[in-house]
């Protein structure tokens, strides 16, 4: 066991992997800094590129993108009041007023430090919790797994987006598309409409790149055609004290950072809740605990620290359900499933036994990525600001080209490119109609697991649903699912704001 952990850590510090992690973090910060683009989008485009890397290199690169993107989103939020990613919206509440006061570098540096602390905390929790949870998960049979997947769908459908009904429709549609290809029982073609290329199923990357990246580009094109607002980028003051964060200032925010790190980690560990809600909860908790709550929203450094620590703490924790149960808790984790599968690894509790060295190498890479994030973020901050000046009519066509390239590279087929375009248009329509594309993608990823566990449970229970009472864990999860559906329906009826 110790040898496996050590071997994993040694793999991660190999020079090539360090370079790959640095490249991932750099790409993540740059993409995250551009308004409208975010880390999951960059991951979607980058997954096909990682096909040619080692498994650890590929995962380390994508995790670096995710971590860099988490901080990068705060740059445009602070400088332009236009968060690069939705989770940075809470950071902008105090970050932008600070920038207006001539302290954008101070705000961005505090965002960076808080982001790294929050992220490192959640990585440590992941490292400590994932393996014990996986041991528990291995004791579960198909009946329990089936019940758990249905529960995860309900939670994600209820918590993401504005309507439980629409969330469930999106999840069911995702599962439906996952059934196209070859059925697992008889190995016969299913819903392929005569296309031989479809017998291996719809590539996850066609859906990932299409719905996540290209559909966002189409939305940005629409925004641009409507005459999108050009926002001024604020400049830094000449006073040295306003360009950095002193130890005293950092220490003053430590309590809020620690509180937010815990909040973000808890939120991240639950499927469906995302970094956006974590950022606002962390910010709200800091405001409530402050002796000067009236200063929040007017450029308080603590507000930036609290929001950023909370949203970054989600990044590590959202791998807890993926590694311990095989269930992706958010869209980034769902895309990582694609990377795992490309390298012949099925994510889930058995990973610790079958690919222990890779898992611990990945954990080490996550910790290294945090250090890289700190170094690259600190020294490259002034340079990243220039990314914001690149005009949209240049960025968007280049992104379109990268999406087409990524879809083709996946399995070098034009059908995959065509499917990616079709899913991009579907994703655009879904976004306009407020159907959650996140739930759709997670439904697509979890579909095969649901079908397999369902068919096994069907045989074990001899097609008699009343036998469910013989499986207390599965029965409890089913009851929880029914209660959750009821709660979500009641909450919507009472008109409460949805989370995430």
């Amino acid at each position: 066991m110790i040898e496996t952990i050590l071997a994993g850590f040694v793999d991660a510090v190999a020079p090539i992997n360090l370079m790959i992690i640095a490249a991932g973090v750099l790409l993540g910060i740059i993409v995250g800094a551009i308004p409208g683009l975010n880390a999951p989008m960059a991951i979607a485009i980058a997954v096909p590129l990682t096909f040619y890397m080692s498994p650890l290199g590929a995962l380390a690169f994508l995790l670096g993108v995710n971590k860099g993107g988490s901080f990068g989103g705060s740059i445009s939020g602070i400088l332009m009041n236009t968060p690069g990613s939705p989770e940075a919206a809470a950071t902008a509440i105090d970050g932008y007023p600070l920038a207006q006061k001539g302290k954008p570098l101070k705000a961005m540096k505090m965002a960076l430090y808080a982001s790294v602390v929050g992220d490192t905390f959640s990585d440590i929790v992941l490292i400590l919790v994932a393996a014990p949870l996986a041991i528990l998960a291995l004791k579960m049979g198909p009946v329990e797994i089936c019940a758990l997947v249905i529960f995860a769908f309900t939670m994600i459908a209820g918590l993401v987006g504005k309507s439980v009904i629409k969330g469930l429709i999106a999840a069911a549609a995702g599962v439906f598309f996952s059934t196209i290809g070859t059925d697992p029982t008889l190995a016969s073609p299913r819903l392929t409409f005569g296309f031989i290329d479809l017998q291996s199923g719809i590539p996850l990357m066609a859906i990932g790149i299409g719905m996540l990246a290209l559909s966002e580009v189409i939305l940005q094109i629409e925004q641009k055609l409507r005459g999108g607002i050009d926002v001024a980028i604020l400049k830094a003051a000449d006073v040295k004290a306003d360009r950095g964060v002193s130890w005293l200032e950092f220490r003053g925010c430590l309590r809020s950072i620690a509180r937010s790190a815990v909040i973000g980690t808890l939120i991240g560990a639950l499927p469906g809740l995302g970094a956006t809600i974590a950022g606002f909860l962390g910010y709200g908790a800091a405001k409530r605990a402050s002796s000067t709550p009236e200063e929040f929203g007017k450029g308080k450094l603590e507000g930036v620290a609290a929001a950023e620590a909370a949203n970054s703490a989600v990044v590590g924790a959202n791998l807890i359900p993926l590694l311990s149960l095989g269930i992706p808790g958010n869209v980034s984790a769902a895309l990582l499933v694609g990377a795992f599968i490309i390298h012949g690894v099925t994510p889930g509790p058995w990973m610790f036994e079958e690919h222990g060295q890779l898992v611990y190498g990945m954990f080490a890479a996550m910790l290294i990525a945090n250090v890289m994030n700190l170094i690259i973020g600190h020294f490259g901050l002034r340079g990243f600001v220039h990314v914001l000046r690149v005009p949209k009519p240049i960025i968007l066509p280049v992104l379109v080209l990268l999406c087409l390239t990524g879809a083709y590279l996946n399995d070098q087929s034009f059908l995959a490119v065509g499917l990616m375009i079709a899913f991009a248009l579907l994703g655009y329509v879904m976004r306009k109609l407020e159907f959650s594309f996140v739930t759709f993608i997670i439904g697509f990823v979890l579909g095969p697991m649901l079908e397999l566990s369902l068919s096994q449970a069907y045989i074990i229970m001899q097609a008699d649903i009343t036998r469910l009472v013989n499986y207390p864990i599965a029965f409890s999860i089913v009851i929880l699912t029914v209660v959750a559906v009821g709660r979500f329906a009641m909450r919507r009826r009472e008109g409460e704001a949805p989370a995430g």
Partner: protein, 154 residues
């Protein structure tokens, strides 16, 4: 979103029905007794989509009825106006045209055409910058993919 929900719910309910009754039986093999048939999961998901689509319609029906009866003032705006429909059709056509150029003339031709076409569509008029980006990005990507990833694109 209520009017859009009403329409999308109706379409989804109809889609679920058509898929369960005609498409899925025609495109799947029947299974053996004692195990789940290949059509089971696709059919269940389509039944779920159809039923939830109908529920969406029912949930929005009272507001629409009140509006039609003159009791409610206005309905919310349509999510698809002329600009968004234009975006769907022009961007969609542009993307499929890019795919056709990719398949027929290769990656670099497609890349140059895509960057120029989309930049012009978005109102870019700085020809020098456009020419530089349109030439450098596709050629650069092609060679990175060829040498770093060892994939020869058409």
């Amino acid at each position: 979103m209520r009017r859009a929900d009403f329409l999308s719910g109706t379409l989804l309910a109809l889609l679920g029905l058509v898929m369960v009754v005609w498409v899925i039986p025609a495109e799947t093999f029947s299974g053996d007794e004692g195990e789940i048939a290949p059509a089971f999961v696709p059919s269940v998901t389509m039944i779920v989509i159809g039923v939830l689509g109908a529920l969406l319609v029912l949930a929005r029906l009272p507001v629409l009825m009140r509006y039609l009866g003159g009791l409610a003032g206005t309905l919310d705006a349509q999510p698809f106006d002329r600009v968004s429909l234009k975006v769907i059709f022009i961007t969609g056509a542009g993307l499929f045209a890019a795919l056709a150029v990719f398949a027929g003339f290769g990656y670099i031709a497609m890349g140059i055409a895509t960057v120029i076409a989309f930049s012009l569509y978005l109102g870019r008029t700085n020809w020098v910058a456009l020419a530089v980006v349109a030439a450098l990005v596709p050629v650069g990507t092609y060679f990175v993919v060829l040498h770093a990833l060892r994939v020869a694109m058409p």
